[in-house]
């Protein structure tokens, strides 16, 4: 199973309510996955020349204050950050690669969950309602969000194996389904300098999209190529800096419902995660057609 949700606010007046609107969507998909949950929220852009990175500590001892001081001193830059339990939302006046390299050398146990100008990713093993409460996701503002509730079928239940997976700056992927050629594809991608942290199939899809876009493909082109190279079942939602994209495999047995009003566009594995949104009963509701890339975003 697994459940996926996406919400894009067309009406800017709704932005203060993004977390309050999307959190019940995530919790609503709890019956499709109780193992772990995650949400990528796009909000509060970092100024040009700076980067926002969501970090996660693996053991309980990481002192975020120390990390910020040492990072600022080590790189000679200004650093700030907001703590969300075991996640740190870091802002640094440099680029993502510089921070990544510093972490690799100085804090190898700290994971980079996501990076970009706008993206913040929160994920953890556990139930979606616990994850919403732990990180206060229902209080976040923002323009759009993509989330996932996981019922693991092919690899371990850990936070590292949970979605969303980062696929590049301001990009992330959530997946309902299972891929059958991920082991071969992972080996191929590793030979092309894509790094993996887990044996998870979705991480391979994320790595694949990263690889294609590194080669110069647009997100749409990368997803079109995925239709050829990824074997298995999937409904994907991809969060981007400006919106989100949806793709279903050609057989399309993994569900997806879309709904649109003047105020918002929502996608979910099932309608019951959309039902609470204002105006949902009168929304334009449809199912995305198989093997077709859909994108929503600011023009």
């Amino acid at each position: 199973m697994c459940g996926i949700v996406g919400l894009f606010l067309k009406d800017q007046a709704l932005r203060p309510n993004l977390g309050a609107m999307v959190s019940p969507m995530l919790i609503g998909m709890g019956d499709r996955g109780r193992d772990s949950a995650g949400l990528a929220v796009y909000r509060d852009p970092a100024p040009p020349g700076s980067i926002k990175m969501t970090l996660r500590r693996v053991d309980g001892d990481e002192d975020w204050e120390n990390l910020k001081v040492e990072l600022a001193a080590g790189l000679g830059i200004s650093v700030s950050g907001t703590e969300f339990d075991d996640h740190l939302l870091l802002r640094a006046a440099t680029d993502a690669e510089t921070v990544r390299d510093w972490l690799k050398n100085n804090r190898p146990e700290v994971r980079v969950v996501g990076a970009g100008q706008k993206i913040e990713i929160f994920k953890k093993a556990g139930r979606p309602e616990d994850i919403v409460a732990r990180y206060g996701l229902d209080g976040l503002d923002g323009s759009h969000a993509v989330g996932h509730t996981r019922m693991a079928t092919e690899s371990a239940v850990t936070t590292q194996h949970s979605h969303p997976f980062s696929t590049g700056l301001d990009l992330c992927l959530v997946h309902n389904g299972s891929l059958s050629n991920h082991n071969r594809l992972r080996r191929w991608l590793m030979r092309h300098d894509i790094e993996f942290e887990t044996d998870n199939d979705t991480e391979v899809a994320a790595g694949y999209i990263t690889y294609r876009m590194r080669q110069g493909a647009t997100l749409e082109e990368a997803l079109e190529a995925a239709l050829v190279d990824l074997d298995g079942f999937y409904t994907f939602a991809v969060g981007t800096a400006d919106g989100f994209a949806v793709l279903r495999d050609p057989v399309a047995c993994k569900p997806a419902v879309m709904a649109e009003t003047d105020g918002w566009v929502a996608m979910a594995s099932e309608f019951r995660s959309i039902a609470h949104l204002p105006g949902a009963n009168d929304a334009h509701i449809w199912e995305p057609v198989p093997a077709t890339v859909y994108t929503w975003g600011h023009a």
Partner: protein
């Protein structure tokens, strides 16, 4: 005598309690009409009914609504999720909006009417149910369909009727492609009379002359003595 309508609000009552109440209706009562409010996409609403109830659902439903239905008339004033009227045995299920995939799957009897579109695999493995769709159906509809009629007033997606047995398909619009062993067949006056009757039962005002008939070429599932060595 006019039936008493009981309102059951799913914002106050669980689906389990709703279904238990519907299952407990005695055959010899007049109180057989129910209205379900605030369904909000919940699963298995009005599943497993066995009496001639009328259940009206005011909104969108989730998976397997009216599954395994016998005798009852279930009317959905909204959209339906995956597997509406799955394994229907008798009675009627009417969806006034659109239906998700596998509508009427493996139904043995009764009538399923979908006012809007139905998505992929509508009527998969149907075994005697009649399905009338006001809009279009998605890919692989009537896959392995064994008996019954599928009527589509709009278009059909790719691989219509793949591996079909003896179900009969009437399609008014475009057919993207036919699946294995599904072929177009003659439309005789007898077929038009059958179709007219189906459309009337569905409450749809349409001319049978605009439809084409599809069914099995019978090359896949029939035993052929030439193939005996293959077994």
């Amino acid at each position: 005598m006019r039936d008493v309508v009981a309102n059951i609000d799913l914002s106050e009552t669980s689906v389990r309690d709703l279904n238990a109440r519907l299952h407990a209706v005695a055959p010899d009562t007049n109180d057989k009409s129910f209205s379900v409010l605030n369904p909000n996409g919940a699963h298995a609403i009005a599943a497993g009914l066995t009496e001639a109830l009328h259940v009206g659902i005011e909104g969108h439903v989730g998976y397997y609504c009216a599954g395994m239905n016998q005798e009852a008339v279930v009317e959905i004033h909204g959209n339906a999720g995956t597997g509406v009227a799955e394994n229907i045995m008798s009675g009627e299920v009417r969806v006034h909006g659109n239906a998700s995939q596998s509508a009427g799957a493996s139904g043995h009897g009764g009538l399923v009417v979908i006012g809007g579109d139905a998505s992929a695999r509508c009527g998969i493995s149907m075994k005697g149910v009649d399905i009338v769709v006001g809009g279009s159906v998605g890919h692989m509809s009537a896959f392995m369909a064994q008996a019954g009629y599928l009527v589509v007033r709009g278009d059909a997606g790719h691989d219509l009727g793949d591996s079909i047995y003896e179900a009969v398909l009437y399609i008014a619009g475009k057919v993207e492609s036919l699946g294995s062993d599904c072929v177009e067949k003659d439309m005789t006056d007898a077929h038009k009379a059958t179709l007219t009757h189906l459309l009337r039962r569905a409450g749809m005002d349409a001319d049978a002359n605009g439809f084409r008939r599809f069914g099995s070429a019978r090359t896949l599932y029939n035993f052929k003595i030439d193939n005996a060595g293959q077994y």
